[in-house]
């Protein structure tokens, strides 16, 4: 049998198992008496062994086999798990990970493999002999007092509890809610129904996606899973209390076993295929827009009707493809407990990592792009933010530092916050450096958060006082900033001395299709992504003022700085003397800006085309697109303009 064609599947499935093993090891380490993790670990490593053997990757299968032996011995109660076992198993997972990639590439196992095999064998041989005394005390440096042995182990179980959500008990239910067809704003109503359900249990697998609720044509049907101890009648009553609910369907969800069976109906698709499909769907959208234009011009009612029908179908296709690409951010978040643990241990720090909003979904491509920046910021937080335990004690803080990652769905974007309760960024030092490099006025005495971010995101500017092994090599916020901006996202920073630092990354839900506003400046048309458009106004209707050196508009008692695009693009005079120009108000996080344009041309879904900015291209363009009539247009980068 030619197994080569299964290599991709082997890699992806092994990685899933290894990812799971990391999670299980972390859970087990926190709670060494627990039996569930060791069972899961055993199953996972056993699967990897079987797959590796089938693929003919004998050394890899052998390594997995030795790991399995150790787990089997603990599982069978031959001896209790010890601190050094966790270390060994973590290393085994790492070695398997490297080994999977190497084997698939036809390379030998990395050198560490042999040593690990020996160490694993030795651990099984030694078994319960020796090594228990004081183990708890040596562990993880997380403990504050000098308690030893068992007590300490119980102590360690604590950190596993602060799960932000109360874990609901009771059966898992499949719920289908239909909002009354005559009801207004069905999406908002459906969201209320969802809120009612959340009040009595744990909601998951919500369909449709959150963004659908905002659509005016939302059909009022929402389905989700609910784990609750409430009786069906109570569930029904709770959901109906949202008002305008036509029906509530409640079924016992198929249990885990059956869920596994239904998984058989899933297939794995190469992401490249989905990319291709997405691109085709995108082109279909452009063609549809063109068709609608032609149909309207022709004024043929039948043609218009057909055009609209095609339009709906294309919308549905696009929605399905988008949906298929959505991936919960959990997939990236799951890497962090391990990263945090290893780094904290290396640095002698105590760090608790809290993850929230792992269920929020993002386009796979966006998620892949933000993974590295997130890892970077988490490492930064632990390395530079969180202080050593004794410094924290001196500052009156708990010895254990907190790093929190939160994903939050906003209108058309997802915000990911990375915050720590550490020492904050030392502004005075940055200020000195910034002055030395001429980035701020020499007379400046302080830096705002915004200035701070601007200075930090200068290429090569490092936040580290001492260049550490971890993150201070001069590659830092600038890389994060560049990556996020290239996605059409934005970065915000807030840092308080002594209290910690928070980064907020905002990224669009998907990269491929962007709802946009088309504007005209001079003879050219430009695209402004709607994600950042808060409203449109007329220039002359607003009182003018100034903000520092800049011209500004008063919008509801707030001064918003103005950018005249015609001046910026050097097309002044192309449209002569027209005073009543439209203004597009942009909001990127807390920042606002007003763009004065020559005309608003309406909303449009546009397909972002790959875009290599020519050298010397100003930074305020974030991409390009082809408009329905076939002409190209540049996409404005809102974050660069406010």
């Amino acid at each position: 049998m030619d197994v080569a064609k299964y290599a991709a599947l082997f890699i992806s499935e092994s990685r899933e198992h290894l990812q799971a093993m990391n999670q299980l090891l972390l859970a087990w380490e926190r709670e060494p008496q627990a039996t569930a993790p060791v069972e899961g670990l055993f199953r996972a490593i056993h699967s990897i062994k079987g797959m590796a053997a089938t693929m003919g990757f004998t050394p890899l299968a052998d390594l997995a086999h030795r790991g399995e032996n150790l787990l089997d011995a603990v599982r069978a109660g031959k001896f209790a798990v010890k601190t050094e076992h966790f270390e060994l198993l973590f290393r085994t997972v790492d070695a398997l990970e490297a080994g999977v990639a190497a084997s698939a590439a036809g390379k030998p196992l990395p050198r560490e493999g042999d040593a690990l095999v020996k160490a694993l064998d030795a651990a099984v041989r030694r078994g319960g002999k020796g090594g228990e005394a004081g183990e708890g005390g040596k562990r993880g440096g997380r403990k504050i007092s000098g308690k030893g042995g068992k007590e300490a182990v119980e102590d360690q179980a604590e950190p596993s509890t602060p799960d932000p959500r109360p874990s609901a008990t009771g059966p898992l239910l499949d719920i289908r809610v239909v909002i009354h067809p005559g009801a207004m704003l069905k999406g908002a109503r459906a969201l209320l129904a969802l809120r009612k359900a959340e009040a009595i249990g744990e909601v998951s697998r919500v369909r449709p996606q959150a963004g659908e609720f905002e659509r005016e044509d939302f059909d009022g049907k929402v389905a989700f899973r609910l784990r609750t101890s409430a009786a069906p009648a109570e569930v029904d009553a709770a959901i109906r209390s949202a008002g305008d609910v036509a029906s509530v369907g409640i079924d016992l969800a198929s249990d885990e076993q059956v869920v596994d069976a239904s998984a058989l109906r899933q297939i794995r698709i190469d992401l490249g295929r989905l990319d291709a499909l997405m691109k085709l769907a995108g082109e279909l959208v452009v063609a549809r827009n063109r068709l609608l234009d032609l149909a309207r011009d022709a004024g043929d009612p039948e043609l218009i009707q057909l055009g609209e029908r095609i339009s709906r179908l294309v919308g549905a296709v696009q929605g399905e493809v988008l949906e298929a690409r959505l991936t919960p951010v959990r997939e990236v978040f799951e890497r962090f407990p391990r990263v945090a643990r290893d780094l904290a241990r290396d640095l002698g720090k105590q760090v608790r990592l809290e993850l929230e909003g792992g269920e929020i979904e993002l386009d796979r491509a966006v998620l892949d792009e933000i993974a590295d920046p997130l890892v970077h910021l988490v490492r930064n937080a632990i390395d530079h933010g969180i202080e050593l335990p004794r410094d924290r004690a001196r500052a009156g803080k708990p010895a254990e530092g907190l790093v929190r990652l939160t994903a939050l769905r906003e209108k058309n974007s997802v915000a990911i916050r990375i915050s720590d309760d550490g020492r904050g960024i030392d502004r005075s030092r940055i200020l000195g450096k910034a002055k030395a490099e001429g980035l701020v006025d020499l007379g400046a005495t302080t830096l705002t958060d915004e200035q701070l971010l601007r200075v930090l995101s200068r290429s090569g500017f490092s936040t580290a006082a001492v260049v550490s092994d971890v993150s201070g090599r001069g590659v830092g916020v600038d890389v994060v900033m560049t990556r996020i901006r290239s996605l059409g996202g934005s970065v915000e920073l807030e840092s308080n001395p002594g209290h910690g630092t928070t980064f907020v990354l905002r990224v669009p839900l998907t990269l491929a299709i962007v709802r946009s506003m088309l504007v005209q400046v001079g003879a050219e048309r430009y695209v402004v992504p709607l994600t950042y458009v808060s409203e449109t106004l007329e220039f002359t209707s607003l009182p003018a003022t100034s903000l520092g050196q800049r011209e500004a508009l008063m919008v509801r008692d707030r001064a918003v700085p103005i950018t005249h695009l015609a001046t910026l693009f050097g097309t002044e005079g192309a449209v002569d003397g027209q005073r009543r120009r439209p203004v597009v108000l942009l909001q990127v996080g807390e920042r606002r800006g007003a763009l004065v344009v020559d005309a608003l041309l309406g909303q449009q879904e546009i397909v972002v085309e790959p875009f290599e900015a020519p050298v010397g291209m100003p930074g305020w363009f974030g991409g390009a697109t082809i408009l329905p009539d076939g002409t190209p247009a540049l996409i404005l980068d809102a974050a660069a303009l406010v």
């Binding site: 704003l185 908002a188 969201l191 209320l192 209390s241 949202a242 008002g243 209108k411 509801r556």
Partner: protein, 120 residues
């Protein structure tokens, strides 16, 4: 005495109408606000059982006002008053903490139903 209500809308017409609907059903309209900022201020001052909140108001819109009020009192009972075609805004308001909504043009019975739902 019925539940106390704070009515927030920038149009006197709407405020009067909502206040009349509520008063006729025995609710006690204890205050009115015509901007979001006023709504936040009066909420702190009056601690009403219920707030009706217009979405589009000058000086802090209704959604920001909901956010502000819920920051101080997560249990605040706020009923959004929206127009047709404001689905996305209402969704945002609910995410910000609003408990229910009614859609203009108002039918008194719908308003009262929603008020009862919110007051639970």
């Amino acid at each position: 005495m019925g539940h106390s209500v704070l009515v927030c809308d920038d149009a006197i017409f709407m405020r009067t109408m909502i206040a009349d609907i509520l008063a006729s059903a025995g609710y006690d309209v204890v205050g009115e606000a015509e901007t979001g900022a006023q709504a936040v201020e009066k909420y702190k001052q009056l601690k009403p059982d219920l707030v009706t909140m217009d979405i589009v108001m000058p000086d802090m819109g209704g959604i920001d006002a909901v956010r502000e009020i819920c920051k101080g009192d997560p249990d605040a009972k706020i009923l959004m008053c929206s127009a047709m075609g404001q689905q996305a805004l209402v969704v945002e308001a609910i995410q910000a903490g609003a408990k229910d909504f009614v859609v203009k043009p108002f039918q008194p019975s719908r308003v009262l139903e929603a008020v009862q739902r919110v007051l639970g």
